[in-house]
């Protein structure tokens, strides 16, 4: 997500520069008008002015030291240090990560550090890449790095100044380590808690000195525990699903079973007789059943008799949609990349001893299915605003959307962000989605706080899928085995179209998120043509962990193995010779290959495959080992992953993200798919949308490239290369490329 902005930032050499450049954006007034008219919208680029920052090469003195440390750090007299996270933690560990950055510069003791979610506030807590408060695109560490280091250093300086004044000694004689402020010469010391009240009265210093990497005591250390590791093992961590406000009622919503359908008529007589059902309301988004508890609400919903109007609904099945996509793929699309002359090269290569290879790839719709089903509690406030308890991922968007629903100001929409039970992109939507639904129900039923709960079926059948994609690729190696031409046509829905992201993300008919990883591939192909069709459908789609790279990296890396085979080259060697100008990609490829024992002989039925890719400015390579048994059934035995994401704040969390990313990628490659028959989703729960389970999970070895480059992200980049590495491992055994996902379609799992 927003890869374009991030890459633009990276090109500028200093990631936060982007915040100082206003991007094309609707004004807040026009935004509110759009929301009032019923459209979801997002302001991009309404940025928080950032202090002027020194270039990375300059001495580690950055000033002035604003943002104010009190936005991010609360030091209490009880000696706890609470770091406020403006980002959502949905398992990726960002509360721990942000706290680590602060604690490092503050010289806090890790045992005194706590984490909490900051209140929603676009002025104070915008994501500098987005212009509004929100989490996504593996940006959280990258966009918080400077401001939190400065905040920590400023707070430390204020503690030092307070201690120096009390002791009447020069500040230069005061040291801080592990949460203790000392004056060595006199043997005196204070805790942070001793100094906090007085330190808060001091002005924020205009200049602060940041640590050199060699002096880090917390950043980069593998032995810090996550701040949520206890509360999430004893049942005390509170998710939105666990919020219980006084008088709270539970709502479930009956939505059209076909995408784009609307309510024609409702018979709610039976539903109203279900014990515990309080109210049934017909709203533009569906029919809401409000009840004393979740069981009564779902029982009431089952008793509804609704006739749906499918006049504007999607009535095709996915087979019919794919057939339409294939027809589209016969025609040229919007141009995403065009250099040299691929078509001519295919002709000349074929005539001169080279090889031309064709491949058609099919990627299904995929649900995110986070373990915590979507839900939110909304309580109306007397001022016309409301308070929302949710695993809110785009707080800034949700404030604006809900303000549109309620007719209040965005700042009257208070959000109490909660730990989120997974997201994988699902909780970040351009139109507020389930939170807007909850606000609509609360507005229609103002008597009590409303908890809107999605069931798992609502989630699996509810859309916002990774789009169905078709890729057709023709590529050629010449007689010497050099990759000389690549032509790729991509067909799939744009989830940026029709949202306010469109202005930035869709250029000349090309949604960058549909072609990222393909049109900009690192392999130096002299003749490259990539084009795109973005057919529309009422089926709703959304970014899904690693976004366009979920399909582009797969198609690219599987084709590369086929080309290497045609050229008679080793898959790692073939890639290495093409990555001479990409040292970080080459670095992770070599590291993964070396650690996996690439080139060592394998037993019969065993296969080994590789893939390498850049996404979100992070570089990842996977080597996968598989067993193909006598019946052709595949088991993934081991995955070796190498990652270069710059300076690593918490190595154990990066490791966890690589383990989880591997499972995410493998699980969906094996059996994950959403299909439709006559517009009705065939799957409904984990008995049909089949998740990765314990017995599917391979061993995962993670190797992190040591680096002091600016930190990037790790939540998404661990996904794109694992499935093609597995596919290439199977290919090495069977000689059959796996080009239709999931693999279960080929009967191999």
């Amino acid at each position: 997500m927003l890869h374009h902005l991030i890459r633009q930032a990276a090109r500028s050499g200093f990631a936060l520069d982007i915040a100082a450049k206003p991007l094309p954006t609707p004004s807040r007034r026009s935004f509110l008008k759009a929301v009032g008219a019923g459209g979801g919208a997002l302001v991009i680029g309404a940025h928080l002015p950032m202090p002027a920052l020194a270039a990375e090469a300059a001495p580690k003195i950055i000033g002035p030291a604003d943002p104010r440390p009190q936005l991010f750090i609360i030091i209490a007299p009880d000696n706890t240090v609470t770091v406020l996270a403006k980002h959502l933690d949905k398992g990726q560990g960002i509360v721990t990560g942000l706290a680590t950055i602060v604690a490092e510069e503050l010289d806090a003791d890790w045992a005194q550090v706590r984490g909490a979610f900051a209140p929603a506030d676009n002025k104070l807590y915008a994501n500098h890449f987005f212009g509004v408060q929100g989490t996504g695109g593996s940006t959280a560490v990258a966009n918080s790095w400077d401001e939190l280091r400065m905040a920590g250093a400023a707070a430390r300086a204020m503690l030092v100044a307070t201690a120096a004044a009390r002791w009447n000694v020069p500040a230069g004689e005061v040291t801080v380590a592990k949460g203790v402020v000392r004056h060595a010469a006199s043997g005196r010391s204070f805790t942070f808690g001793d100094l906090a009240t007085d330190a808060a009265k001091l002005p924020v210093p205009q200049q602060v000195k940041l640590k050199e990497a060699k002096d880090y005591v917390l950043i980069g250390k593998p032995d810090l525990h996550r701040l949520d590791h206890i509360s999430k093992t004893n049942g005390t961590a509170i998710f939105a699903m666990d919020i219980r406000r006084p008088g709270q009622v539970t709502a479930v919503l009956a939505r059209s079973p076909r995408f784009g359908g609307t309510v024609k008529s409702v018979d709610d007589a039976a539903a109203r007789k279900v014990p515990g059902v309080i109210e049934v309301l017909t709203l533009p988004v569906g029919v809401a059943v409000i009840a004393k508890n979740t069981w009564a609400a779902t029982q009431g919903r089952e008793a509804l008799k609704i006739t749906w109007d499918d006049a504007k609904a999607e009535t095709r099945g996915t087979d019919a949609m794919l057939a339409d996509y294939r027809k589209l793929a016969d025609q040229p699309g919007a141009v995403a990349a065009n250099k040299g002359d691929a078509d001519k090269t295919f002709t000349t290569v074929a005539a001169n001893g080279g090889h031309v290879i064709d491949g058609e790839f099919v990627f299904p719709y995929l649900a995110h299915a986070p373990m915590e089903p979507l839900n939110a509690v909304v309580a109306l406030n007397p001022d016309g605003g409301c308070t929302i308890w949710a695993g809110s991922q785009f707080q800034g968007v949700e404030q604006m959307v809900v303000a549109g629903v309620l007719g209040c100001k965005p700042e009257q929409v208070k959000i109490e962000t909660q730990w989120a039970g997974g997201s994988f992109g699902r909780r970040a939507t351009p139109n507020g989605d389930y939170i807007a639904e909850a606000a609509m129900i609360a507005k229609a039923y103002p008597k009590a706080p409303v908890h809107l709960v999605w069931t798992r079926e609502d989630d699996i059948k509810g859309g916002r899928y990774r789009p169905l994609f078709l890729h057709r690729i023709k590529a050629a190696v010449d007689a010497k085995g050099n990759l000389v031409a690549w032509k790729q046509r991509i067909v799939g829905q744009s989830f940026m179209a029709g949202t306010p992201f469109e202005a930035v993300m869709v250029k000349n008919g090309v949604d960058e998120t549909s072609v990222e990883g393909a049109s900009d591939m690192a392999y130096p192909v002299p003749n490259l043509a990539v084009d795109l069709h973005s057919p529309t459908s009422p089926v709703t789609t959304l970014w899904w962990r690693s976004v366009g790279h979920t399909h582009t990296a797969y198609a690219k890396e599987v084709m590369i193995d086929r080309l290497a085979k045609a050229a008679g080259k080793d898959p790692v060697a073939f890639r290495m010779e093409m990555l001479k100008d990409h040292p970080r990609l080459a670095g992770v490829l070599k590291l993964a290959a070396d650690k996996a024992g690439w080139g060592q002989p394998l037993a019969k039925g065993k296969g080994r495959g590789v893939a390498v890719h850049e996404s979100f400015n992070t570089y990842v390579a996977h080597v996968a080992d598989v067993t193909v048994d006598a019946k052709g059934q595949v088991k993934v035995d081991r995955v070796v992953v190498a990652i270069d994401c710059g300076e690593v704040v918490n190595p154990d969390i990066v490791k966890a993200q690589m383990e989880g990313g591997a499972g995410w990628g493998i699980g969906h490659a094996l059996r994950g798919e959403i299909t439709m028959t006559d517009g009705l989703v065939d799957q409904g729960n984990f008995d049909s949308f089949l998740p990765l389970r314990m017995s599917d999970m391979p061993a995962v070895e993670v190797h992190i490239v040591p680096s002091h480059e600016r930190p990037t992200g790790a939540g998404e980049p661990g996904v794109p290369t694992v499935a093609p590495a597995v596919a290439n491992a199977v290919f090495s055994v069977t000689g059959q490329p796996l080009q239709t996902l999931p693999f279960s379609r080929d009967g191999i799992v």
């Binding site: 999430k232 049942g235 986070p370 997974g422 990313g661």
Partner: protein, 153 residues
Amino acid sequence: MISINVNGEERQVDVPGDMPLLWVLRDELNMTGTKFGCGIAQCGACTVHVDGQPIRACQTPVSMLTPESKVTTIEGVRGKAAEAVQAAWQKLDVVQCGYCQSGQIMSAIALLTDNRNPTDADIDSAMDGNVCRCATYVRIRAAIKDAAQTMRA
């Protein structure tokens, strides 16, 4: 009124007998450590113990429990296996989003109560009913082995 024993306490709830134990715990008794994930016994997020055996609370109508049935949830689970499992989970930082982990831990405690030296196949068999979308499976397996070692020591 239905009487049930949860974590050693007698509780009275005024609910229809077909209400699953999951919703009795979460909505009536306000014990939210046990999670709703799928509602059809396919994900294990709602795993609790009834008389020491792991069951899916979302598919257990409260009327199926007898007054003698002892329900144990993540809030009340105690004993050598519970201590070893929770300590191992914390030592290895198993959790990511954490939403499935109450159920994972309840299944792991049940496994280790019966079997202090589980093989990988035993772990697969005992834990395959517990889904983790963050795919923390590598660490869950390692934590079960770590806890088993603690219990054997």
